[in-house]
Amino acid sequence: MKMKSQSSRQYRGERLQALTVRQARFIDAIAGRILPATDAPGAVEAGAVFYIDRALAGPYPHLLSRYTRGLRALDKHAKRQFGASFEKLGDEQQDSALGDLESGKIAELPNGEAFFELLRTHVLEGVFGEPSYGGNKDMIGWKLVGFPGQQWGYPETYINKAVDLPPITWEGLPKKPGQS
């Protein structure tokens, strides 16, 4: 296999570590349906695709072939059902194709339900997980739901009261005395 040049792995200003640009674009299209942008940003803006890329380059390299196979089958299904690549379909058609994947109706992909579940889980982890794993850019996911992040602690328990603290990451916490 030929090594790809570094520039060919550039995607949205970051270098991909496991996925191809084409795969990353495809995953972004899916991520945009799993947690779509509305008035508030969604999974694309949170950079869920970069969480997935790092996961596949790091601890889960064995899942890359599942992604490759699964995405290929989903694209084929999209072409057969709607006459175009998944990325080129409108929102409703994309949702319909994903729904077929979710209910295991894609013939070429036995156990497609499990692949959908993997995609959904990875996308949402990429939105709501700690930013150090590649996703949740600018803590978008935490701001969406009102989670103040890895606060050192809380001065009170905020009973029936909105929490007014800006979210913070572990790395962003000021070091406390006695921390080993």
Binding site: R120, E125, E130, V145, Q150, Q151, Y154, T157, Y158
Partner: protein, 567 residues
Amino acid sequence: MNGSIADVCIVGVGAVGGILAKQLTSAGLKVVAFERGPALKTAEYAQRDSISYIARPDQLEGVRHEPRIFRTSTTQPGNLRYGTSPFNVLGGSMLLWTGQASRFMPGDFKVYSNEVASGLADRAGVDLRGYDVVDWPIGYDDLEPYYERFEWEFGVAGVAGMNPFAGPRRKPYPLPPLKMTARMQLFGDAAKRLGYHPFIGPAAVTSEPYRPPAPYDTRIPERPACVYCGHCNHYGCHVNAKASTLHTAIPVALQTGNLELRTNCKVANITTDDKGMATGVKYFDPNGVLQEQRARVVILSAFVFEHVRLLLLSKGNGKRFKKGLANSSGLVGKCFFGHGDMRVYGLFDNFIINGFIGSGAAAMRIDDFNGNNFDHTGLGFIRGGTVGCSGDGAPVSRMDIVPPDVRSWGKEYKEYFMRYYTRTFDIHMAPETLPRRDNCVDLDPRRRDRWGLPLPRVTFAFHANEKRMHLFLADIGERIFREAGASKVWTELPRPSPTRQCGGTRMGTDPNHSVVNGYCQSHDVPNLFIVGSSVFPTMSGYPATATISALAYRTAEYIERQRDWFH
């Protein structure tokens, strides 16, 4: 101590092993303690990071090398399961526990007498065929002084006397309760209006800075108060407010000079002599080289799966232990059980809950449907479980909790999660599972760990008594949520895999029907002790930690008394 004989070898240094090490070294015994994993610093296990600890437990150093095989029937090959309990590092899963520190109730030790022999099971209309219900050989009174020592050495926060179903106690809790949270308030008020008896569940989390006073062990270092960061269950505590042996018992044991700690060492089997006594252990050192340590007493404190595995792997010694060590009863690995992990969920339109704040163990609970505290006539099951509020968690812990009428992705899901992440909590049940011989742990015939040892294999399913109990408790939880004003309520019945695993080396008086006696001492091998939830003859509707800790103190005292073993 290589080449020489230790007084005591301890296998596994978590909650139980840490307490045993402290007590035995303080009595002057020379102890060599083996821990499979490393000694981590606080910053190495308390990053409070939901990707590592919730989403990817299979990647954690203390988990990844020793999964177990899980199957629901003997006809299946089974799947690999990774869980943060056991957590194979110094201090064990107690680093990641929630901190629920309830004592068992007096009736939990006498299920056979109280519920089977008494005819109660018949009146309940329950079919107990296939179950193997027995009494414990010890009772609540035997453990009461040791529960007290656990509470005062580890710093348990609670309100004595608030739970009318709790057993009698000589001393109050050493610490006042943790701060009230929204879920405690909603649950407590609703349960009270329904005529139940809500109480603040005891938590081994410091509500104030704490150091044990005399007559308890004053050598234990002070710990600061909880900061309510909300990362308890499955996470390490960054301020050490949540009790663990790593910051209490283990440093004290090391200070005595009598403890030699061998971390990153994996015990492979227990050695025996021609009289059938244990002589020590064989273990893989950090370089994977097999070594031997001789000892006068061997104690297993490495949790259910490892206890069963080590005993089965230590078979041999001529014909004597052909079914496995300490297994003349044939019961090693049998009667494995735990709790069903069962939750009812509620959403609130008129109340902000902020479930991510607080201490995981700070909960309001009721015991009105626990154990034998209610009339079972005609219910079709015996026993029950504690019912309490829970629902801590960063968004990654909560993202899969979706009402049945909401699609789990897309715009609808996003709107749901954005609105309700801060407006929800769970009612958590701890339905106990009755013991059965066909729910068991053995060795997987094919799959092995990194040392080449067979992986433990679990075969487990819930049966009629559990299934009826689950539905009954779901109804209680849903009733409390509706009373509390939840706008949507739904139940998730337990997956067929018990949490808080117990059993496998049952305690009893008859060597034909149990593995260890009331002091956790093997009937067959008198200088072998097995300590932990594996010895439970039956479960309780509570988690095990306070009880295994009490058993550890009591067993240590028993071993200390055998002066002639140590010259």
